[in-house]
Chain length 787, copies 2
């Protein structure tokens, strides 16, 4: 039932925004819109407006691609006429590269900006830099000579709020003051973020990836990738991240990059006027987005290919790669983290892993899969509740409430108080001799042998590690609960970082446990071979990374792209096998509870018309069971090719709500001639009555090449052949639906006519297919029970 | 004309092999074969043989996928019947992973074997290890304590042939003796290789990639990936590499991996009985092949995606990745080069590159593009000559002749005498203080400052470098000429390594030139900023790598996968921009001379029915201009659904040579019912006459659901509905060919029926499309001139 209504209400909670569009959709019935410009008679002028799309409609990939080839042919034909035309053709040929370059540059720059601003604003929650307000905590202390390396976070220039207001840094009073200021700032940022989103750009909320997937599959959502969305999303993303909510900036960065791609595509007519070509730019932009989000250009391209893109020709692969690289290089020159890396949590390990460790890695995979399945179910249930009850009407209050709880609970625990990216970095990093983290407070076994810096053999855990374990366990529970309620709030909110944090915490805990097990029981069979006392055999940081990948995999069900993204974070082929083992396990475990990833689940929740390329259609139904009209329906509304009058035609259009009508030879023969679109017919009749003289209500309408022979006194007939699509896709009524679904997916169709022995029987639209698939999925248990 | 005849004569020069198949093809006319098992009436038993393919026919992707889903449904339905059925369904579900794991294991093991064997056999040309014959030169000297590091290649255990036979290692006599033995061994290996190929497995010759592309696109070449081909290709590849011919093992390794994939797929009915599913395994296998050839698992997957695969669902992406990783790990455990790396020429650079250097990098790209275009034209011209003249009849003589010239010319020049992989390694490697190569004989500027080992500042070239430059120039010319004549010989021959060698030589020459320019003219504006005396600003090894990528890109027109492969060789994101600049330039320059890569050119030369997904169809023709029959042709051979007798049907089949026949309602209405295949009809009639009583020549044949009403005395009618494909693909006669081509590519069709207003007009087969595309390409100049 969600599919029918296209209720995007989660995105647009404001009734005044939702209403007109919702009405429009309702009136569309089996909604189909098409462009037929490639078949225009060349003698006639093209009618303005024919070949464009309404908002919230599906594009016709085949026609769009034909349009583009037609445009290309025209430019090529003119090329040799003059130097100016030649320059234009060059500009046209290069515009693809230009637009992806611009997109890459802008995405990289914006990502750098967001990183720096979020970092600064995040530190504002704790204190301020006295001599330079625009420095964050770390930058503030860089100039200080008074601190040692171990205490590099403490310097006189950086004042906590308690230090500034109360004049003292320590003591319960300052703790409470800092606690209060932390909550104050968190709430302010969250309030500002949700207010900006609500007032200026409702589309800026959420991660944006479900909508981008839908748009890339050929749906039109005007304004979703516009300049206002870009501006507000950039600003509110910084605020949302700084507010300390359990969310990440990685998903929204993809949305930001796609906005850049969409905006730049308006500079180039090749892309702005063709919805299919524009989607090539968007595919490249989403690769650039992931590239800057994770510092993984190749991973970004594979993400675009595996997760979001629908139509991905090889040319786009190449350009996506380029955009991802440009974005990565811009971000690296901005160097937002001061570590010459694209992400905060880049790590390098030096210890190999051992075969036995696959067991804990696979256990982490199981945990990731369970977490993913649980998260999807819980989050979707919560979001459905938000949509269906009155409670969803107060998004601002909800955000403030969640932000308040997050801030109150997060502050006391150092692992939840800090920035999630920094937490992940700390969990990923192996304990070296220079590491001052609580997680590395092992009891030293080597007396004074500090010279031997590179090796960090397994040691018994000290009290710091035990304390950290407890805090990590609490942080894990906190993150799990808060993330469920945070994803879906009306602020920009990514899911990658919280998921990774949850996995990293779990992984680190498992890693330390295995490490201690190996230390105390090194005579066990499993450890004896390779893990002697004094050797560095277990890397808890690697467990954290494997756990992070497993949890992210469980939630998103990404596979190759995820492994490649994490591989690019570590820079070593060595650890791909543990990663793959964990990600694969996580996917299989997750799939056992439901095959959808979180993005597909949100797409279905919002009822977008998205035909998933990954989901297999495995039923044995035939086209005639899905097509309309079914036996109980009214007969199919068809037009005859040469015996309707303008009045009759308008009557048919007004009586029905279909988006297009098959044209047949005659009522008797039912043989199919072509397909005409409601929108095109309306535009063409209006155009004719305005421009052509002698067109009356009684004028005969004909779709044939030559006018029919008419009585002498009849008014001038109206030729509508130019808007007739003379190559509609047809299948026979006996075609298995699996083939029909395949055709729709691969060719990007919106409708397909059904014939039997050459006679028109009915029509199947994309929506009919989605409805049928939903029906089949729900009815499956019944079917099996009846058998 | 090549397309029509499918003359594979280059591959199968033996008349007795070519003839029967060639005849078969000729008789096929508009050749189409299809499988329609999914529409079988369930009451009737499936007729054995229906749904299989003949050799050298194209598969029907849509039907194959339907068949697989049907099989899957059956297994799923039975799953809960018994524990045995459940185990079978588990086996079925896991067989995809099992087969790619096995393929990866086998490919890795074979690659390691080939590497070790080729290395040993290659050193046999120069001498022998006295105490252990099975050691190659390097291994032989490992155990020796008498040699210093600089002279690590010289040890008493290793005897050159002159040393062994004449008893002296130095002097003109030994030189001539070594020269002679070098030629002797080279000729022996080459002779043995070509003999084995000719006698046992003619398909083992060449690189195999053009054929694999064709097979993956849905063509059937029986035996091309069989066990004999695998065995002979593995053995002869070692011989061919060792013979010193200008060829590489990388392309053939892909063929070897695909053979493994094909052989293992026979263990699993899911893959052995379904041509479409089998191709998924082959896609994964080709990824594994590139993975072991270049030590680049991700590059391998992208190669499979970009270069060879046709149908690449996401599941295959994931399995390809797995196969590539398994293969890489097996190869790494074998460690054939003793450097813990997968390839000989793995390098790490430590110097950044500077913006100005993009100019020489782009120049290298231009060189690569020119080389690629020249190579393709020259090689294709030579191969065409080989095919069309009597000269192609003596493949053994040709190989021996080329091998003799190669050996004679190669021996005096150290850069051509050595193994090409080693040459590439030497050219890629930067000059460090431990490098003893002639290329690194710079005049030292630092007196005795040996302690400072890591920095290697730019220095003036010494006499060794000048000598090396001359030798490299000669080697470049030699390699260019020999590669043209070598690729296409009847021995396993890859193109990657020779192309990379040519690029690496050119790149190293340019690199040294720029380095010397920067040293002597460091006050020039371009150098002043960043290249002072005593700094290490130019890395000639990087130029070699960029040149290698550019040349490989020019020949194969790969883009992303090539960059990723080379990126995985260097292990640094740093150098992707120079690589991309060079590869892009090379592709554009190459495309200016002809858009085909070498593999597509060879596919066209051999006339395989391959519909390239990359090539755009840009003409404005309509389906009715391409379909047959055209006006001058005899009318379309059709069957009517219920008024033919067995005799008439057999008459139609015998009179025509088409592979399939449309079935219509009646001659008058011409309305389409379905499509029946020649092979299926023949099998069904034979089957009926054998098994059903009362079927005579006068029996009525009907394709309808119910038997037609017949006179009382007529013989029992024959129902053929089970072999009728009731969902043939149709397009209207007005459909632009660009859409038709798109449908054929995306859905993997073999034929499509053309209708007009519901009436059957004609048929378009894949071959018609290829013929039309060839016509359009040839006629283009005329068309423009007439306009």
């Amino acid at each position: 039932s969600n599919i029918r209504g296209y209720t995007l209400s989660q995105l647009t909670p404001l009734p005044e925004i939702m209403m007109p569009w919702s009405n429009y959709i309702m009136s569309n019935g089996g909604g189909v819109v098409s462009s037929t410009t490639h078949l225009l008679d060349f003698l006639e002028e093209p009618i303005p407006g024919v070949g464009t799309y309404d908002d919230f409609h599906t594009i016709d990939w085949v026609r769009e691609k034909c349009k583009d080839r037609e445009r290309h042919r025209k430019i090529n034909a003119k090329k040799k006429e003059s130097a100016w035309e030649f320059t234009k053709s060059l500009y046209d040929a290069w515009s693809g590269w230009l637009v992806v370059t611009l997109t890459g540059l802008a995405s990289g720059a914006l990502a750098g900006l967001i990183d720096i601003a979020a970092d600064w604003l995040n530190d504002i929650k704790e204190g301020i830099c006295l001599n330079a307000m625009w420095f964050n905590h770390e930058q503030c202390c860089w100039g200080s000579n008074e601190t040692t390396f171990a205490e590099r976070d403490k310097c006189p220039q950086w004042k906590s709020w308690a230090g500034l207001i109360l004049g003292q840094e320590e003591g319960p009073g300052s703790y409470i003051m800092n606690y209060f200021m932390y909550i104050y700032w968190a709430l302010s940022f969250a309030f500002l973020a949700v207010l900006l989103v609500k007032v200026f750009a409702p589309y800026a909320c959420g991660s944006g990836i479900p909508e981008i997937k839908t748009i890339l599959s050929g749906f039109i959502i005007r304004g979703y990738l516009g300049k206002w969305t870009l501006l507000i999303k950039t600003v509110t993303l910084v605020l949302a991240v700084a507010s300390g909510l359990s969310l990440g900036k990685e998903g929204p960065l993809v949305h930001v990059a796609c906005c850049c791609g969409n905006i730049f595509s308006y500079l180039f007519p090749k892309y702005s006027k063709n919805e299919a070509k524009k989607r090539e730019v968007l595919s490249a932009a989403s690769a650039a987005g992931v590239s800057v989000a994770f510092g993984a250009p190749i991973g970004g391209v594979l993400f675009s290919l595996e997760e979001v893109s629908y139509y991905f020709p090889l040319k786009t692969l190449w350009r996506s790669f380029f955009a991802a690289l440009v974005a990565a290089f811009v971000l690296r020159s901005i160097n937002p983290f001061g570590n010459s890396r694209l992400v905060l949590f880049y790590v390098e390990y030096h210890t190999p892993w051992y075969l036995f460790e696959l067991i804990p890695f696979i256990l982490l995979g199981v945990f990731g899969g369970l977490w993913g399945a649980f998260f999807i179910k819980a989050n979707i249930a919560w979001c459905r509740r938000r949509k269906s009850t009155r409670f969803g009407k107060y998004p601002v209050l909800e955000v403030i409430f969640v932000a308040a709880i997050t801030a109150v609970v997060a502050f006391p625990n150092p692992y939840t108080r800090q920035n999630t990216s920094e937490l992940i970095k700390e969990l990923f990093t192996d304990c070296g001799p220079l590491e001052s983290s609580q997680l590395c407070q092992y009891r030293s076994q080597m007396n004074g042998s500090k010279a031997f810096v590179d090796a960090s053999p397994n040691k018994p855990a000290g009290p710091g590690v035990y304390a950290a374990m407890w805090q990590l366990c609490l942080a894990l529970i906190f993150k799990i609960i808060m993330t469920i309620f945070t994803f879906g709030l009306k602020v920009p909110a990514g899911l990658f970082i919280p998921s990774m944090a949850i996995g990293a915490i779990a992984g680190r805990i498992v890693g330390i446990a295995v490490e201690q097990l190996a230390y105390y029981h090194h005579d066990w069979l499993v450890f004896r071979e390779w893990c002697e006392v004094g050797t560095d055999c277990i890397t808890p940081g690697l467990y954290a990374m494997v756990g992070a990948a497993a949890c992210l995999g469980g939630v998103t069900r990404m596979t190759v792209s995820l492994v490649v993204i994490v591989f690019e974070l570590t820079g070593g082929l060595e650890y791909i096998v543990p990663l793959m083992a964990a990600v694969m396990t996580s996917k299989w475990v997750g799939d056992a509870f439901g095959r959808e990833g979180i993005y597909e689940a949100h797409i279905r929740l919002n009822g977008y018309p998205f035909l998933d390329a990954k989901e297999e259609f495995t039923h044995t139904t035939l086209a005639r069971e899905v097509m309309r009209p079914q036996r109980s329906d009214p007969p199919l509304a068809v037009l005859t090719q040469d015996d309707l009058t303008v009045e009759e035609l308008q009557g048919i259009i007004n009586e029905t709500s279909y988006n297009g009508f098959p044209v047949i030879v005659s009522k008797e023969s039912q043989r199919l001639v072509g397909f005409a679109l409601r929108r095109d017919i309306t535009i063409a009749i209006e155009n004719a009555r305005r421009k052509q003289e002698g067109i009356l209500l009684t004028s005969r309408v004909y779709f044939t090449q030559h006018a029919p022979t008419l009585p002498a006194d009849s008014p001038r007939p109206l030729k509508l052949r130019s808007i007739l699509d003379m190559s509609p896709f047809t299948v026979t009524d006996h075609t298995p639906m699996e083939i029909v679904v395949d055709i729709f997916r691969k060719l990007g169709l919106r409708q397909c006519l059904v014939t039997h022995n050459g006679r028109l029987l009915g029509i199947i639209t994309k929506k009919d297919i989605l409805r049928h698939m939903a029906q089949m999925a729900n009815q499956d248990p019944d079917n099996i029970m009846f058998n």
